[in-house]
């Protein structure tokens, strides 16, 4: 077939590749636009529009650019890169600006049409990772191209394997093969991206044969689809970690943890490592993975899944041990347990509401009476951001594919000036860890940096800064007769969908 319909589970909000750092958006954009540095299915950097990059000095990167051309025929040059880097911070009203990826860049120097030099203020080994987020647009769009013009197709000109045809918000996006693509030709002439956000409807569309592929296969339907001969499943471990955040910012009582009879505790028990350890080892992660996630996850005791850069070898989830957990609680001064309200969202992460309930069951067995409260993300997020909860479910997608990102965002001490601990909503703070992280991110040598990151990760995990639960798996389903390359970064690319054989 030359026409293929793909159903995605999250609505694409904009075609403007610099408007919003949202996976559904970037996932679509990745079909039309390209980045200097691409990532492979396992989120490892690989050449994109840049064929190679290297440090010319401590703070300057030189990139060699590919011979490629935009959909309208204009050749791709270093000027387009400079233009893109300049444009990113100027997008107005952007709630998720790509400027965080361009900010380290302090200087742009066009060496020739196919060579460009980017300089940073400090030693910044992560620049290629950041560039892997940045879609290149042609400089001939001129000053201040508007988001509307991208949505209408006027500005939607990239170098990618598909060219943009039309966008019906909330409904579908039509793509056409770019025959002038520099790489392997895409398999399909015409691609329709349909947005089917309702899980059951998406599965139904797959089962009824309306679409050739769906992403975000609902865990409940995995078993059924797997049994269906007409359907193939494609899965890979995701870079998303699901964890529990624990309030360690308050010294005094924390609002949702009390003594076993509801008495207010003078001190925040979550600051006691033993309590945190008890809560962690009470959780039967394999059970959650197997029963709640129906296999679509792997139990986790650190940020990243095995095989990633800076994965800590041998750091696996502690075996569930109720007796030991009880003993730890008793040692911490709570022989009769605690009373905890565990908060979670109910529409954000895969099975989020079920996970917290399951944890509630498990904690009840070590004498921690757990009440579970879930809310839609729209109101949950606000409470979580305002640090109103004591123990609560969070998820984090590690866009860079290595540990410095979660370390800095989740467990580094909250510090607005340094941009550290942005989502450290438990307000865990450990100066030793902080300095280790700082050292790692300014180490240019990959080997040395990985060692530092591993050390830092181990430190955070030993201290139970957060309680990691599992790494999700990303699952796609296709009709039989297709192959697909599942991606760890959750992006759904029509390019990776090919006929079998």
């Amino acid at each position: 077939a030359q026409n293929v319909t793909v159903a995605v589970g999250a609505a694409v909000g904009s075609i403007d590749p610099h408007y919003y750092t949202l996976t559904p958006n970037t996932s679509l954009d990745a079909n039309v636009f390209e980045r200097l540095v691409e990532t492979d299915a396992q989120a490892r950097p690989m050449p994109g529009l840049a064929t190679s990059w290297k440090l010319v000095d401590d703070r300057t990167w030189e990139l060699k650019l590919r011979d490629a051309s935009f959909h309208d025929g204009t050749p791709f040059t270093a000027e387009d890169v400079a233009y893109t880097i300049a444009r990113v911070p100027t997008v107005v009203n952007s709630p998720g600006s790509f400027a965080i990826y361009t900010r380290p860049i302090t200087g742009v120097e066009i060496v020739d049409a196919h060579t460009i030099r980017l300089s940073t203020a400090n030693v910044y080994p992560l620049l290629p990772t950041d560039l892997a987020q940045l879609f290149i647009i042609p400089h001939k769009l001129g000053a201040n191209p508007t988001t509307e013009d991208f949505n209408s197709g006027k500005n939607a000109i990239g170098t990618g394997p598909y060219r943009f045809v039309s966008y019906k918000p909330g409904d579908r996006i039509e793509l056409e093969r770019n025959d002038g693509y520099w790489g392997t030709k895409p398999a399909w002439q015409h691609i329709t991206y349909r947005m089917i956000t309702n899980d059951a409807a998406r599965t139904a569309a797959m089962l009824s044969g309306d679409v050739a592929m769906i992403d975000q296969v609902p865990t409940a339907d995995i078993a059924r689809l797997r049994a269906d001969k007409g359907v193939s499943l494609w899965e890979t471990v995701s870079l998303r970690i699901i964890y529990l955040a624990l309030d360690q910012g308050r010294d005094g009582p924390t609002p949702f943890v009390t003594g076993p009879n509801g008495e207010i505790l003078a001190k925040n028990p979550l600051k006691d490592l033993r309590v945190r350890q008890a809560l962690s080892i009470a959780i039967n992660r394999p059970a959650i993975v197997q029963r709640v996630m129906e296999g679509a996850a792997i139990p986790s005791a650190q940020f990243l899944p095995p095989g990633s850069f800076s994965y800590v070898p041998g750091l696996v989830p502690p075996p569930t041990d109720i007796a030991k957990a009880k003993a730890l609680l008793a040692a911490a001064g709570f022989p009769n347990g605690l009373k905890i309200t565990l908060h979670g969202s109910n529409d954000r992460y895969l099975n989020d509401a079920k996970i917290v309930q399951a944890i509630g069951q498990m904690w009840t067995r070590i004498g921690v009476q757990t009440a579970v409260e879930t809310q839609p993300w729209s109101s949950y997020a606000g409470h979580a951001t305002k640090l109103e909860y004591s123990v609560f479910l969070q998820g984090w997608s590690i866009s860079s594919g290595e540990a410095s990102n979660p370390l800095r965002a989740l467990v580094a001490t909250f510090d607005a000036a340094k941009g550290r601990g942005t989502v450290n909503r438990g307000r865990y703070s450990n100066p030793a860890l902080d300095s280790l992280i700082d050292k790692a991110v300014s180490t240019a040598d990959d080997g040395a940096r990985e060692a530092l990151l591993i050390q830092a990760t181990r430190m955070a995990m030993d201290d139970v800064a957060i309680i990691p639960l599992h790494n999700q798996k990303n699952t796609w389903a296709t009709r039989a007769g297709f192959t697909y390359v599942p991606r760890a970064d959750e992006e759904t690319r029509a390019y990776d969908l090919r006929p079998a054989n």
Partner: protein, 324 residues
């Protein structure tokens, strides 16, 4: 006429004002859009920049004042998520919803009215009772559940109809409609049916009650005493009379059908306003929510007006202003 129109307009404006105020305060109570919208990757500096850009650093009343100022100039703000004018976003999605809702209402009349007539004419027959009991199904099962059932039966098992989405559209008056194409119609059937179930029951019940009340009246007896055939008695004399309440209620329900097609649209991935609004609520995209509600109010007012006019057309008595 003009005066009346102006008064209606004034009322609508008042309701819109009240509505926008409630939404501002209400959404403020739900949460801060910043917490949901701003990409978690953003650092604190980036956050601060966006907050100022979107005006969230200002006190609520000031944000409201800005909004009012814009609204007076026809600008209801830009969507946070889509970065497009909120009004435009909604108007883009409106045809899909209108088409769905109107089809649903038509369906409810086409199915509900005959069934209701039947049940009213033979209230004690088995079939009449069965119709009545069956009509309870229309509002006792949650719409999302029925919707999925429909998909399972007609799309997955039987494969007769597409499972979701809007089919091929064709342009009419510069707007894309799906009822003009075969594929579009096929896509329309299930969601329209799902949405109309409640209204089918409603119309059915109204029609039945109307028949039961009208049949014993003198003028129906007189019509029979004139020697008219039962068909004429039922389809001219009775039907004309029960049409009046049916039109009134159906008109009002069209309003709520449009406003509350949220569930159906999300189950059937129908790209209408309902889907947009629920997504917007989920991310607290305030300009879209406010604009949506404004439009719903305008729509309500318009529909009420049309219903009033229809009412006048159907019931000659109201011309004298004296409804007995």
């Amino acid at each position: 006429m003009l005066l009346w129109f102006l008064r209606r307009l004034l009322q609508a404006m008042f309701v819109m004002l009240a509505m926008s105020l409630i939404v501002f305060i209400g959404l403020h109570a739900i949460g801060n859009p910043v917490d949901i919208l701003i990409s978690p990757e953003a650092d604190q500096a980036e956050r601060a920049r966006i907050i100022t850009q979107l005006g969230f650093d200002k006190p609520l009343w000031q944000q409201y004042a800005y909004f009012l100022q814009g609204a007076l100039h026809g600008d209801l703000g830009r969507s946070f998520v889509f970065n497009e004018p909120a009004l435009q976003l909604i108007l883009q999605r409106m045809p899909a919803t209108l088409e769905l809702a109107v089809t649903a209402v038509l369906l409810s009349v086409l199915v509900g009215l005959p069934l209701g007539l039947f049940a009213g004419l033979y209230p004690n027959s088995f079939a009449g009772r069965a119709v009545m009991a069956g009509s309870i199904l229309g509002f006792s099962l949650p719409g999302f559940w029925v919707g999925l059932m429909l998909i399972m039966v007609f799309a997955v098992s039987l494969g007769w109809l597409p499972s979701s989405g809007r089919g091929t559209t064709a342009a009419l008056f510069g707007v894309q409609w799906s009822f003009l194409t075969r594929d579009g119609l096929a896509h329309l059937v299930l969601p329209a049916l799902n949405l109309s179930l409640f209204n089918i029951s409603l119309v059915l019940r109204l029609a039945r009650a109307g028949v039961r009340e009208t049949m014993p009246l003198d003028y129906i007896r007189f019509a029979r005493a004139k020697g008219l055939s039962p068909t004429r008695v039922v389809f001219v004399h009775v039907l004309r009379n029960i049409l009046i309440p049916v039109v009134t209620v159906v008109g009002l329900e069209l309003g709520s059908t449009i406003a509350f097609s949220v569930v159906t649209e999300s189950v059937f991935a129908w790209p209408g306003m309902g889907k947009l609004i629920i997504d917007s609520i989920n991310v607290l995209d305030r300009p879209v929510i406010v604009a949506y509600l404004m439009i719903v109010v305008v729509m309500f007012v318009t529909i009420n007006l049309v219903v009033d006019l229809l009412y006048t057309a159907l019931d000659p008595r109201v011309r004298l202003g004296g409804r007995a």
